[in-house]
Symmetry: C2
């Protein structure tokens, strides 16, 4: 890619509104972040992709010189927008910011992402709710997702940007297979798995993951969108996934929750008040090198901005370290052991 | 000082609760911050000076290895605490955080600051309101401030910490002189001017400043507490002041107001929406090197934490640069010219 090589499996830090909340690009680089994700829906509404293009593109606008992936806006339309009307032509909805009318077609989603200048763009997809899926609705969404993927591919012009397609189909393995095969025939440089929410209480979802990744070309990256907890990522890597993004490390960081190999810490708890230890012994992140749990506890009680920043920094670093450990285990032929040890520690099933 | 030499005149960044709001120590070092100020009142109430001592002192607690000055808590007692009862023995008040009862005597103020381990500590003083000063009240406060300064000096034991006294007296030049002379006889390594609020609409205050600094030893630093705007600092340097602190660069930074040599910018204003220029051309701070006004405008509209951080960073850097320019002008024998040019530009009187 124009902005550098990415080692997989990789965790991508979420920078929805052209900033990873509370962290500077320098901090992200220091902890080894390889890719930042930007959200097409948010950025198209504010400040606008035309403005970002005018400012030299998203990399320059937000001062991030490593690779950027932008999503297509599909997921946000279904979760954030109001008054959604969806036809084969496009999705028309009202902005959650100011109520203004916005139309997103496959062609527009591609144009926006070409304006943003991300290294990886995503095809516009239809994301029906998984909570109460109706079979016909799910099939219609898959068929539309395939038609839209083809239109995105036809509209796409930037040679310095890779366009990935998104496999939908919910928990219906036949639909997932149908979608994966149709998209593979269109020959994209990478594929995402949309509409999954992996969780330890949802063994069904986990079961649906492996057959789907198996249908996708082995030499192309597979990206599981919006997932998840460390244990979810580990289990998904075991099922062939290469790329991840999730708001958990930064969202939990802002809420005083730290990830560690020994489990999570809630820094507002009184037990941390006089604890001179770092969040995680042996962690090389700036937060663990320089600050005690007692100091972080104090920052959260005093409602100081530095608390969310320092814990987010550790959490993203923790996710990056997890991915490095996974890569090393894979390269060293030790991944099965690594998986077993960590699942036993975290209480998950393989 | 144990933590390094300070070049004066100096601006000290305010780190009330053991953090300069929104900025990391690394950011502060990068922009040349020499001293950080911690607030005794806030830190004694939360997390407690005993806890900070247990954690190795304030420098280690907040990861700031350059000099720290702590105030005495006097000013905050009078402005923040509830149910204040003041006697010669001590000030008794209720915490603004949890309503608990707290007693601050000169001896306790010194012990707290010795626990914090600051490089410069301040004597406890009485700060009567300047808004409606009663002559007897002002004189009584000055006399108590002198008695308390002597008790602080007697209680002070740390050889690695300098204890400064505070000159009170409001706008009464005779009282100021009386206070300055009495404190000078007690021979402190530095003196502060308390109870001043310099402002261009308050020529009276400015007039009272010079006679007071003239009464203090020329070879000891003079510190004007809590002041102020760039023009206030410049005018105070012209009247013999060496040290300053003020919340303006960080508070205004959080409120989207940037200081520049050409005046202030309000970044939420629509005029910045498509402005690709940095906050200030030629400014070497990280914010100006890497980000456009358009990006900062976007961050504030999107209510992203990085906005307050980046503008605070520029503002503290701006204050630091102002002090460097002043020092260079003094060393080069050009201060009178520098003063005249900037007062003309900022519309103040010398």
């Amino acid at each position: 890619m124009t902005h550098g090589v990415v080692e997989t499996p990789v965790f991508m830090a979420v920078g929805t509104q052209a900033t990873v909340k509370g962290l500077t690009p320098e901090m992200l680089e220091e902890i080894g972040t390889q890719v930042v994700l930007g959200n097409t829906y948010h950025l198209a509404l504010r400040p606008g992709d035309d403005l970002i293009a005018e400012m030299g593109g998203l990399h320059r606008f937000m001062h991030w010189n490593r690779p950027i992936l932008t999503d297509s806006g599909g997921y946000q339309i279904f979760s954030l927008a109001a008054n959604l009307k969806i036809t084969d032509q496009s999705a028309v909805f009202r902005s959650h910011i100011d109520g203004s009318l916005f139309e997103l077609s496959p062609e527009r989603a591609v144009r926006i992402q070409e304006n943003l200048g991300s290294d990886i763009a995503m095809c516009l997809d239809e994301c029906p709710s998984l909570a109460d899926p109706k079979p016909n609705q799910l099939r219609a969404a898959v068929e539309r997702t395939i038609r839209w993927a083809e239109r995105c591919r036809n509209a796409h012009t930037r040679p310095d940007q890779a366009l990935f397609a998104i496999v939908q189909g919910g928990l219906d393995l036949d639909l997932r297979a149908f979608c994966a095969e149709a998209l593979t025939r269109l020959d994209f440089p990478g594929y995402a798995l949309g509409g999954f929410s992996v969780g330890e209480t949802n063994q069904q979802t986990l079961t649906a993951l492996e057959p789907t990744t198996a249908l996708l070309p082995a030499d192309k990256p597979r990206y599981l969108m919006g997932v998840g907890r460390p244990i979810d990522i580990l289990q998904a890597v075991a099922r062939g996934v290469d790329m991840f993004d999730c708001v958990l490390p930064t969202r939990n960081g802002r809420n005083a929750m730290a990830f560690t190999a020994e489990g999570t810490l809630r820094l507002k708890n009184a037990c941390h008040k006089r604890d001179s230890r770092p969040l995680e012994s042996g962690c090389a992140c700036p937060t663990c090198r320089h600050y005690s749990r007692a100091y972080l506890h104090h920052l959260f009680l005093a409602e100081e901005m530095l608390g969310p920043t320092l814990v987010s920094l550790h959490n993203v670093s923790y996710y990056n370290r997890l991915m490095t450990e996974i890569r090393d285990a894979v390269v060293g032929g030790r991944f099965a052991d690594y998986l077993a040890v960590n699942l036993a520690r975290w209480g998950g099933s393989s």
